[in-house]
Amino acid sequence: MRDYQKFISESNKVGALRLVGEFHTKLMTLFQTTGLVREMPKQFILNEFNPFDDPEFTEKFDALIMEARARGIKIFGL
């Protein structure tokens, strides 16, 4: 929830706080109505999926980059 501070503009900070608030409310409602969880979690950790955690993907990605480099193709962002 504290992550809202990392946004630069004030409107983004407000937006991030609203999003977290809405998400929190919906999740609580869901838990309460389904009864799946008896005790409410104290903290949520949201990790973004990172494709590079998969070594096979990383290997293929590197091979592609090196092939592009060998052919002299400009890689955007690098």
Partner: protein, 317 residues
Amino acid sequence: MSHSGFTNMGTANVMTDPRIRLMAQRVEHHRAKGFQSPEELLRFCEGFWDIKIPRQRVCLDHSCLAEYITAAWFEDSMDCVCWANRGGGKTMAGALVTWLESVFKAACETKVLGGSGEQSLRMYNHVKKFNSEPFRHLARGEALKTYTELVNGSSIQILTASTRSVRGPHPQKLRLDEVDEFDDKIYEAALLIPLSSGGIAASTHIYSTMHKSYGLMNRVIEEAAESGFRIFKWCILDVLERCVDRECEGCGLWEDCGGKARNASGFYPIKDAIEHKRKVSKDTWNSEMLCHQPSREGLIYKEFDISIHVVDFKFKD
């Protein structure tokens, strides 16, 4: 929150452009997990910055650039001296190791001292190149010529060696670029800069050609074993691009190369090497490009050789 969560993305580009976002994800992966092998590290560097890192020893008694980079990153050797030829990638390697350590090791502070203002600027230009788009979200404030700070608490200070620049705070990492241009006293004072802190061990890396007879680099190399410095030495042949279709017969480099360039995997254009050899004196070529011995040009008795001209002689009482 984990590193992979992009907690510090301040720039709009990384947030919005999926291509840069993917590259930044790669950076975040290594920030969280590090590099598992030298191969993984070298592949990352070559792919991200389009740099050619020679991995093959061409001269048997030399090292290759890849050996230095991996030894520095994995901290096999804390104190290193890189003695290499002109255009051999010393400053680039120094900047690369500095950037990698700053990004992927939290709270790693580095001070780089250049032998001249121009040398420091060269180091900064390399660091600037490495600070590409996928790393921008990691910068705290603007990256300046003399000081760059990252959100993980790491920092890079690039200065020209002087009596003032060797004083002040004590970062863990010290890099001395083109040490042959240093004043002896400044060099001595600089060696006291690095201090271990925050779980990061102190280390000193020195980069230079050895172009001055009896110069500082000569002393550094002679005293390396005693001072605990590991020597990484490479010459032009070790960084030469692979020779594929050039005939050995009549080749301007044959005398030095002897066909070794067929196994090279570097970046130095063969054509340029031949041109350079043609233009400079044999003495300069041997000392600055083949790293044989320091140049004796400018000495009054340049033919003087301790092994030939100094003998044991007992005077009669």
